[in-house]
Symmetry: C2
Subunit: 137 residues, 2 copies
Amino acid sequence: MNGKLITRDTDYAVRALVYIFNSKERIVSASELVDELKIPRPFLRKILQKLSKAGILKAYKGKGGGFQLTVAAKKVSLIGLIELFQGPVKLTECLFKKKPCPNMKVCPLRKKLQGIEKIVVKELESIKLNLLFDSKL
Amino acid sequence: MNGKLITRDTDYAVRALVYIFNSKERIVSASELVDELKIPRPFLRKILQKLSKAGILKAYKGKGGGFQLTVAAKKVSLIGLIELFQGPVKLTECLFKKKPCPNMKVCPLRKKLQGIEKIVVKELESIKLNLLFDSKL
DNA sequence: TATGAATGATACCAACTTAGTATCATTTTG
DNA sequence: CAAAATGATACTAAGTTGGTATCATTCATA
Ligand code: FES
Ligand code: FES
């Protein structure tokens, strides 16, 4: 199977955030993150931009610029990042892709799987970033 | 997100098994299944072959041939099918793909996600096929 | 025993997603 | 103005999924 819960984007994002957190109030540049975390530069930059657009990082342009955590960052849970990079969590999707499925309501398989999905979402919600900040990656 | 728990293979397989179950002791041919379930023929055949190799269906070759459920079939759980078609369930995979990750043991993110994985697996194990056989798809 | 209806085995192909690149514009410090 | 940083965006490569195509084998039955 391969129904990964988190993709590379999200994983890199977590690492970057943890690193930035550990740098306290310092402004951390993409270059520094590339060096430290060995993440391919252009890919990381894309990720940082997304985090900054989402209000999780504050970006400073120009020489000496970089990123800092916003206050919001500490409240973000893993599911927030997942949704940001991978879209809304849906582990289960009806077979009949386009047309609305007639069995949607009663389909027992779907019902079961949706139950599982709910559990997963709740768990992901409970993983706040500051849980991860403590122990380093 | 798109970390689907079950792919098309598996879903089709469930449908086919339910249909065959409802046909009681009759031998059901691939053609009949194609007509009834509107699944693309060659794809369905591949799926049926897999089910038969796995001992979930018994195949009868030649004119008048087709498939029947084996006794084993009723004991199969959803996770059995998932593993058959999609391989072992692993919702979480370490970032450092190839090389064994040094943080494997302590990485808090991984630990959390593996916890979720365990829950999911347990749930999938609990979905036995005969649960689905009752209400039709 | 020949025929046709069925499955077995396998190799191939197309669309989609994920991971990653490449380029150029804009802002800021010195 | 020059250098160092981010912003925006378009492109490419590799892998996975969903699906085809072909040919071989088996079996019932006329
Ligand atoms: S088949 Fe559409 S919901 Fe079950
Ligand atoms: S990074 Fe390898 S397990 Fe967390």
